[in-house]
């Protein structure tokens, strides 16, 4: 037995296999597209569509990922990383809400000034989450989101929303390709395998 066993690599492969189902791409694509379309349509009711992305991950995992990949509970080191990700998400949501409330507090700033700050913040949040989740594509999506934010700040509408919509479409196409690869790599198992006694 001469091969060195890299336990960290084994754990990372097990973890990332759970990410390679394209669902996260669908989530981000939905957020991008809804944000872009909402602005282009100039209709606040489109905000309700944000309920759709919320369902993508839990429903997708249940119907697509778990039946093909199986059930797993990850170890304590991965759970600690997940806790860090949740903390980052909570802070980012609260910060974003605070920024959205600024105009109501009479602290509105020109978008051209706010955009670079928001873009940097978004890139940082995505980067941290990418690091702790070992989900490398998230770096690219964070940079893409930051770029659309900068374009929005510099050129306003409709350039910003169009850029966001195009970004959403690009991520959606990646998601479809990733999902197709996932489905081919992990076909639905025979019923006998699911009911196996070890």
């Amino acid at each position: 037995m001469s091969e060195e066993i890299n336990l960290k690599a084994i754990e990372r492969k097990a973890w990332t296999s759970y990410f390679d189902d394209g669902l996260w791409e669908f989530l981000f694509a939905a957020l991008f597209l809804i944000g872009g379309v909402r602005s282009l349509a100039d209709n606040e009711w489109y905000t309700l569509l944000l309920l759709v992305p919320v369902l993508i991950l839990p429903v997708g995992k249940k119907l697509i990922t778990v039946p093909r990949l199986g059930h797993v509970k990850f170890g304590s080191s991965r759970k600690l990383k997940q806790a860090k990700v949740i903390a980052i998400l909570i802070v980012s949501v609260l910060t974003t809400l605070a920024l959205l409330l600024l105009p109501d507090l009479g602290l509105s700033l020109p978008r051209s000034l706010v955009s670079p700050i928001v873009a940097g913040w978004i890139a940082l949040v995505f980067g941290l989450i990418a690091h702790y989740t070992d989900f490398k594509r998230l770096f690219a999506y964070g940079l893409l989101y930051a770029l659309t934010e900068v374009l929005w700040g510099q050129f306003g509408e409709p350039v910003g929303p169009i850029a966001q919509t195009i970004s959403g479409i690009a991520i959606l196409l990646v998601g479809i390709a990733v999902l197709m690869r996932f489905v081919r790599r992990y076909p639905l198992p025979a019923e006998a395998t699911l009911n196996v006694q070890g």
């Binding site: 037995m1 001469s2 066993i5 336990l7 960290k8 084994i10 754990e11 492969k13 097990a14 296999s17 990949l69 199986g70 059930h71 797993v72 509970k73 990850f74 170890g75 304590s76 992990y186 198992p189 006998a192 395998t193 699911l194 009911n195 196996v196 006694q197 070890g198």
Partner: protein, 109 residues
């Protein structure tokens, strides 16, 4: 039989201490997978190890027989499920195996 001695234990040969149950490549793969996870079901292990249904079942039976793996049968969404995890004995055996292998190659290189 959980250990087959390659040589006499008394002559200080580290090869003699290698756990032959774990030393088999497929079982080593299974043990390594379960070592880094809290638990996993049969399907997940099949996907990660690349073993066939029959192969995995056979090796898990051997690991279960020596007390390294615990097989827990439960229902998830009204469907029968088999979750597997390393026992404390299994984790200790895996760590000991890793130390033994390091010692073997440390002495050879």
């Amino acid at each position: 039989m959980s250990k087959a001695k390659a040589g006499s234990k008394d002559d200080g040969n580290p090869l003699a201490e290698i756990d032959q149950v774990i030393h088999e490549p497929a079982r080593l793969n299974i043990m390594a997978q379960l070592y880094v996870l809290e638990s996993a079901d049969f399907l997940f292990l099949m996907r990660q190890t690349g073993l066939t249904f029959g192969n995995l079942s056979s090796h898990l039976s051997k690991l279960d027989a020596v007390g390294y793996v615990n097989v827990k049968k439960e229902f998830v969404d009204k469907k029968p499920h088999t979750m597997l995890h390393l026992t404390e004995k299994g984790r200790a055996a895996f760590r000991k195996y890793a130390r033994s292998m390091k010692q073997v190659f440390g002495n050879l290189v």
